[in-house]
């Protein structure tokens, strides 16, 4: 009776399908074994630690993160010795110019020397603060989901001070605009 409905071929192909789905699921499950910051680890986290901090800018003036509470904050960890970091900054300058008036604030945290940062910022026409973090800043980025401590690492914080998105590696401009657009 069973055999009239289920032919051997049907059984064989549905077995393949099940195995295929299981393999896909297994692949998806294990792919993040090294780093999954790109998927937004740290999302939902309170950025209270960050807002309590202060760092000097390239001119040596102490800047407190608390001054940016209530903004949609894009904190970008970078360095002049990091080529992919430098390459995405012109986009940030553009987006800051367009959306700054609506409450968007980029803040760069450079693991770098002040004079190099100042030189690059001037060349780029940087229109947002460039703070000088040291290795402490790398440690800070690790607490926000940057497991490898690598650059660039970007954290987007909503107006209530919660981490909305984190990204290790360059952030795609369309993706960036889409995320901040929803938060502004």
């Amino acid at each position: 009776m069973f055999g009239t409905f289920i032919t051997r071929r049907w059984f064989r192909w549905s077995a393949f399908a099940v195995v295929g789905v299981l393999a896909l699921a297994a692949g998806l499950q294990f792919r993040g074994n090294v780093d999954d910051s790109a998927s937004g680890t740290g999302r939902g986290m309170d950025a209270a630690t960050l807002f309590a901090l202060a760092m000097p800018d390239a001119s040596g003036r102490e800047q407190s993160f608390g001054q940016w509470k209530g903004k949609v904050l894009v904190v970008n960890f970078w360095a002049t010795w990091c080529v992919p970091c430098r390459e995405e900054m012109p986009e940030f300058v553009k987006v800051q110019r367009e959306l700054g008036g609506r409450g968007l604030q980029f803040v760069g945290v450079a693991m770098d020397e002040a004079d190099k940062v100042e030189l690059f910022a001037a060349e780029l026409g940087l229109n947002y603060p460039a703070l000088i973090g040291g290795y402490g800043a790398i440690e800070l980025s690790k607490t926000m989901g940057n497991r490898l401590g690598a650059l660039p690492f970007t954290v987007i914080i909503d107006r209530s001070g919660r981490v909305a998105h984190t990204q290790l590696g360059p952030i795609n401009e369309a993706n960036l605009r889409s995320i901040v657009g929803q938060l502004l």
């Binding site: 393949f16 294990f30 792919r31 090294v34 790109a38 002049t80 010795w81 992919p84 690059f120």
Partner: protein, 161 residues
């Protein structure tokens, strides 16, 4: 039939992997695997096995030894020249890199520590902060031939790397 099953399995796992290249980033100790080998009682060879898709900056590479001293600054091989917009000409290394460190005197049987500073990036678009790797080895006695290679143990092992 077995072949078809293999194809389904392979393509399903490959598809899920390709969808997320960024999450396959290696820990720096794996991307830039460091090892040393004593070639004789006054020469150590320091090596980096740089994973595919990763590179080191020649200018950021520094070696030192303790408690002995180097006879001279180690000769670094030429790297691949790139024109960096900000820094001008930079040289990078890929694949296997070997640098001979000559001690200023013979130290048969002596335990020495080799320290390597390096900084590298991944083609995927990230750069690691400067790394320091340290290994200890014992120099061979005269005429004993090269010592065994000493490999830095990666911090974490997993199925996939």
């Amino acid at each position: 039939m077995k072949g078809a099953l293999a194809v389904v399995l392979l393509s399903a796992t490959c598809l899920s992997g390709a969808a997320d290249a960024q999450s396959k980033l290696l820990e720096p100790e794996r991307a830039f695997a460091f090892s040393v080998q004593a070639l004789d009682d006054r020469t150590v060879e320091a090596r980096f096995a740089i994973a595919d898709g990763y590179y080191l900056y020649r200018e950021k590479l520094k070696f030192s030894v303790e408690p002995t001293a180097l006879a001279a600054a180690p000769a670094l091989p030429p790297g691949k020249v790139k024109d960096d917009e900000f820094f001008g000409k930079v040289e990078t290394y890929r694949g296997r890199l070997a640098v001979k460190l000559a001690l200023d005197q013979k130290e048969p049987g002596r335990k020495v520590t080799v320290r390597a500073e390096s900084q590298g990036c991944a083609d995927a678009g990230i750069c690691y902060p400067p790394q320091v790797q340290v290994l200890t080895l014992t120099l061979p006695l005269p005429g004993a031939g090269p010592g065994a290679p000493v490999v830095a143990t990666p911090a974490r092992k997993s199925w996939f790397n």
